[in-house]
């Protein structure tokens, strides 16, 4: 039982150690006023805080129940059964859902990367990207002005799809949309919501003919109402918001997905201190993981892609480097293949590497309409 294990600030710890309190037992018999009055030079409230933290640590040691090794641990067998009952958020494209094992999982953080549209100075370059498929090569042309691969569309689609009611196989939950770039278009969200409701009535009509009265009572406005939208203008706002989400989610327990579009935008330009950037990003990732686990929600992060120059060839890699790539549970890379949009699973603990085609239509994300519908497995 040592002092360095307590979550108190470094200066308080230094003061405690220099005054001779190096183990928790030495703090057990002292009162907060004695602590404040002594050589420590801390205020009364700080002293009370220190003692509270110390007694909490002591309490967790003695209350160790014999049935579980560690409080809060679950056995793998129980988790297997929990996972089988876990719902997925569909992406509205059957191929994409198939490779994702049903859709976006709750309790996990999924990162989706898209190809950057930043103009390369002096020329339009062609990049040959040999992907995981081995010999297939993809010609990637950067043209300014094209709206992109569809990451914001996918984000909006997920925010709408999470609200599909339980009767139709959805989660019936709300969504949080954190917008850092200002690319969320309300009219588009309305369009996608309308299309989603029309699809639901179609489904209703075809399969549940006897439930004539069960008309869809949802209106596009209801769907929009259930998307909580936050607009972020700097990285400090982003961190503050993630810290605030804890409180927000305890009040709104029916939120089932957090979409952050895009998580790296404010960290890429004008960030001088790289060490600070790594620290802030890792801390943010841990907090998001914590939220995902505690509230059983899905976290979808949208990221940009940069080029890495290795061994005289250009490689596309997700922005923010290796440390950030390490922190997410799953990673999906969106890319162009000819005229088609593809999604490829780059990292996953349990899913096989595979890619699927999808398309962005007026009604949102849908299956690609090309004749070649084969899903390419690894």
């Amino acid at each position: 039982m040592e002092i360095w294990r307590l979550p108190i600030s470094a200066s308080q710890r230094g003061k405690l150690i220099s005054a001779g309190y190096t183990s928790l037992s030495s703090l057990s018999s002292i009162s907060s006023s004695d602590l404040a009055r002594g050589e420590l030079n801390v205020s009364e409230s700080e002293a009370m805080n220190i003692l509270k933290v110390a007694s909490h640590s002591r309490g967790s040691e003695t209350s160790n129940a014999s049935c579980s090794i560690v409080e809060g641990a679950q056995s793998a067998w129980d988790m297997l059964h929990d996972e089988e009952s876990l719902m997925h958020i569909t992406t509205s494209s059957a191929d994409l859902d198939n490779i994702l094992g049903g859709g976006i999982h709750c309790k996990e953080v999924t990162e989706i990367g898209w190809s950057s549209l930043s103009l390369i100075v002096n020329s339009v370059l062609k990049y040959k990207l040999t992907t995981a498929f081995g010999s297939e090569s993809i010609i990637f042309m950067l043209i300014g002005g094209v709206p992109g691969i569809g990451k914001t569309q996918l984000g909006i689609q997920i925010a709408v799809n999470v609200q599909i009611p339980n009767d139709f196989g959805g989660l019936g939950g709300k969504a949080i949309y954190i917008d850092t770039e200002g690319s969320f278009m309300v009219e588009r969200a309305f369009q996608i919501a309308e299309a989603c409701i029309e699809d639901m009535s179609e489904y209703n009509r075809f399969l549940r003919k006897d439930f004539q009265e069960c008309k869809i009572k949802m209106q596009p406005q209801d769907i929009l109402e259930n998307i909580f939208y936050f607009r972020i203008c700097s990285y400090t706002e982003q961190i503050a918001l993630i810290n605030y989400l804890d409180k927000f989610l305890s009040e709104h327990k029916d939120v089932k997905v957090i979409v952050v579009d895009s998580v790296t935008f404010h960290f890429r330009q004008d960030f001088d201190d790289m060490a600070l950037r790594t620290r802030v990003l890792s801390g943010m990732a841990l907090k998001l993981m914590n939220l995902a686990k505690r509230f059983s929600l899905a976290v979808v992060l949208l990221n940009q892609v940069t080029t890495k120059h290795t061994e005289a060839s250009f490689q596309l890699a997700l922005a923010l480097g290796d440390s950030w790539s390490h922190t997410c549970t799953n990673r999906i890379v969106l890319y162009w293949n000819g005229n088609e949009r593809y999604a490829y699973i780059d990292k996953s603990p349990s899913l096989r590497s595979a890619s699927a085609a999808y398309s962005v239509t007026a009604r949102g994300i849908r299956n690609s309409s090309s004749s070649c519908k084969r899903i390419k497995m690894m």
């Binding site: 307590l6 309190y21 160790n64 641990a73 056995s75 603990p349």
Partner: protein, 317 residues
């Protein structure tokens, strides 16, 4: 080490006379006592009036200090301990087991380093499923990447199911030996390790299925938010974590497997994260990488107590 004043309740011989004497020499805590010249102190105590009292007090403090250090072990005892307790656990992956001469060793801290998506979590899951057949496993997960389906898949591959029910029973028996806990900051991990320590202390006494494997996936996610700032607290916490894990491994006969990621180094090569201070803490370090687009993985030894570093192997998961 406590202040002498606080020790009075437990050891009444350290009363005010003794303490005043010590205070006159600038000694307020047990730590100050250790730094001081004890011969000089004893000589001064002789000259004092209540010399008996003072000598008793000094002897008492010395015996308190004696209780604090680990017992001495000689080479034969260490060898006995190694033969009896410090077994080797096969990971279940042939390439790695051959490379390491058996597998991961109990009592040692083994680190898996590699770029993103190079198979580190998969190796941990495979090892957990292998060790869980006979022992208990604790998996500390920082990135929600523990996948029970993968464990079930690995276990399913190794048995011939006579019936679905027998397979189910086998899965239940083995998977109940794996406990998974999510930790999202380093102080939570310290709490968990502390509870684990009390559990292991009770376990050493009784028999039955014992905990033999601790996996932390990944230690670098917990430590990265702390490193790099101007204060040294991050590095201190990192080294303390390393020593705590090694202590648990040695004293309670655990094999500890931790995961670290890589960062860009000079010349575009990736190097393990957490810096040079961390480099010497794990006993063995393995570097994993993946051939893009296939199931072939490469592993090479960066550091190992008994195998040559630089040796490499390939494996498939």
């Amino acid at each position: 080490m406590a202040r002498l004043a606080n020790l009075e309740t437990e050891y009444p011989v350290l009363d005010s006379t003794v303490r005043n004497f010590c205070a006159s020499h600038g000694i307020f805590s047990v730590e100050d006592f250790l730094i001081h010249d004890l011969y000089m102190l004893a000589a001064f105590a002789e000259q004092n009036n209540s010399s008996e009292r003072l000598k008793e007090g000094i002897a008492q403090v010395l015996s308190i200090i004696d209780d604090m250090h680990q017992p001495w072990l000689n080479g034969m005892e260490l060898l006995e301990d190694a033969k009896r307790n410090k077994h080797v656990f096969p990971t279940g992956i042939q390439g790695i087991d051959l490379l390491l001469g058996g597998g991961i060793r109990v009592g040692q801290l083994t680190e898996l380093v590699g770029p993103s998506s190079s198979g580190k979590t998969q190796v941990c899951l495979r090892t957990a499923s292998n060790v869980a057949r006979n022992h208990m496993v604790l998996y500390l997960d920082t990135g929600n990447s523990f996948s029970p389906q993968r464990i079930a898949y690995f276990l399913g591959k190794t048995i011939n199911p006579s019936s679905a029910q027998a397979k189910n029973q086998f899965l239940q028996k083995v998977m109940s030996n794996i406990s998974c806990h999510s930790v999202f900051d380093i102080f939570a991990m310290f709490d968990v390790l502390h509870q684990l320590e009390s559990y292991l202390r009770c376990q050493d006494g009784r028999g039955g299925c014992q905990m033999r494997l601790l996996i932390v996936d990944s230690i670098s996610s917990l430590i990265s938010p702390l490193l790099g700032s101007s204060s040294t607290q991050g590095r201190a916490l990192m080294t303390s974590t390393g020593y705590l894990l090694k202590k648990l491994a040695h004293q309670h006969n655990l094999a500890v497997l931790i995961i670290n990621h890589t960062v860009g180094g000079e010349g575009g090569y990736s190097k393990p994260a957490l810096g040079d201070s961390w480099k010497c803490i794990p006993h063995s370090r393995l570097f994993l990488s993946c051939d893009r687009g296939s199931n072939n993985y490469n592993v090479s030894i960066l550091r190992h107590p008994s195998m040559a570093s630089g040796k490499a192997a390939r494996f498939v998961i």
